[in-house]
Amino acid sequence: MLLLSRVASAQPTVTVVVTGDPEGEVEAAIAQSDLPIELRVEALPAPQEVAAVETLPELAAAREHYIAAEFEECTAAVGNLDRVLDLVARGESSQAARLLFWRMACAAATGDNGGAGRTAREFAALRLRVPVEIELATPAVERLLGQAIETLSAEPRRRVRFEGPPRAVVSIDGRERCVLPCHLDLPPGTHIARVEGLGLVTETRRVTDDDREVRFAPERAPPDVAAAQWAERYARDPSSAESRESVSLLARALRANNLVFLRAEQLRGELRLRGVASVDEEVVARAEDAGDADDVTEDVLRDLLVEAEVVVLPRKRWKIALAVVGAALLAAAITFAALYERPVDVEVGF
């Protein structure tokens, strides 16, 4: 897959993306295009590498203190709820669960049953998965956690309304989701609401027991975020690349005011080319054709760019002028025929 853009001094920059097979033939045809644009080859946004999950240093410290029976130090090492919620907001619920577990275990070990109980409730409220470290904990810690989960599940849930960009998805503690605008029934406690959407910067909010409505106003995703989102979406579902959302996202990712996305495929020995054009991140034209690579590429590009009004071709303009004159003449003829009174030679006599 290649990214091509052609720049002419008198014409706006047009970025052309070609994907599919045979990519090379289409690119060669674009290079020979008569359209007044120049080409530049770039790589498409690549999927971001998923960073390996590293063990949190505070977890390692807590574990060491616990094993060494340094329970006060253990409690100090694991930090407070803010750190846990921050991890949940980043989607690292597994780490958050382990941190909370160690907080609970350390507190219980110091005899702070109240603190351990509150931590167990926080754990239950966030509905985190119980970590493998539970095997190291005392039966008292297991019992506290079991009681907290049971108590909390018996308490009534509260309904919270979520508002924000339409079609963005809000998730609570990485679990239940709904498409904005929507509402969810949440168990008591503090939760992390996370809203995600194409072209938007992910935004998180803490939702406390006092909140009944949460309004999100996520920022517009900058090009690097848009590129990551586009690549992730394309890797997951390549067929969605020609959708309005995908093309808009790609245009932003590539900083392309004028973008043409072309998908080529071989069908019964001929090239079939589908294209989408966007201007200022809005899809404005679609075209499709099949046949010889050179002709098809030129025709599809021409159709898209003329339809998008990115390129005004003299021949097309002449055709438009002719069509306008023709339409005017036709309208005049129709008007003449409708209004004209025939010269009637009527004789009156006996």
Binding site: L329, A333, V344, D345, V346, V348, G349, F350
Partner: protein, 197 residues
């Protein structure tokens, strides 16, 4: 472009149509009117009658069909005669010797005389609504002034058509005298002959 030219040519083609005027021949005809001296047709003497026919075209909206409305309209705002369209002609009306000269026979003879001696009255009709009027009088054509009313003593008969748009009318246009009395009298003939006055 070819189609446009064809359309224009078709639209430009003049069409010649003909409206045939005819005095209604059903009794009582317009020649049945009387004054205190008897039938007005007697003013023309003995057959064959020698009379003048004056054909006028009065401007009148087509929508008017009732006699009362015609009279009212001619009084206000008026139904002026189109002076350029006036025709006056002398007629010799022959009555077959075997026929008694009643009003129906006279009307038929007048129609025949009009066809034979007058023929075409107007070659190009004016636009808008018109009412055709035929006034039969003993006064010579050269003495008739469109600006002045017909002389009462010269009138023999008067017939009018319904107001029509002559440009769109086709076929036979009948001329008659709507009357309120039987037989019709000189007052009605005078009114008909001087509608525009």
């Amino acid at each position: 472009m070819k189609a446009i030219t064809t359309l224009a040519l078709l639209a430009g083609c003049a069409v010649t149509e003909r409206i045939d005027l005819q005095i209604v021949e059903e009794a009582p005809t317009v020649f049945s009117c009387v004054d205190r001296d008897g039938p007005l047709v007697n003013r023309a003497g003995e057959p064959p009658y020698s009379v003048q026919v004056v054909i006028d075209f009065l401007e009148l909206p087509v929508r008017i069909v009732q006699v009362a409305d015609i009279l009212r309209t001619c009084r206000d705002p008026g139904c002026p005669v189109r002076p350029e369209a006036r025709l006056c002609a002398s007629l010799d009306v022959e009555i077959p010797p075997e026929r008694s000269p009643n009003d129906v026979v006279i009307a038929r003879a007048v129609n025949e005389a009009l066809t034979a001696q007058v023929g075409t009255v107007l070659e190009t009709v004016p636009p808008g609504g018109s009412m055709v009027r035929a006034v039969f009088t003993t006064a010579p054509c050269e003495s008739l002034d469109p600006e002045r009313p017909f002389e009462n003593d010269d009138l023999i008969a008067c017939a009018v058509s319904a107001p029509v748009d002559l440009r769109s009318f086709e076929g036979q246009l009948e001329l008659d005298l709507p009357t309120l009395s039987s037989p019709c009298d000189i007052a009605e003939v005078r009114g008909c002959a001087n509608l525009e006055q």
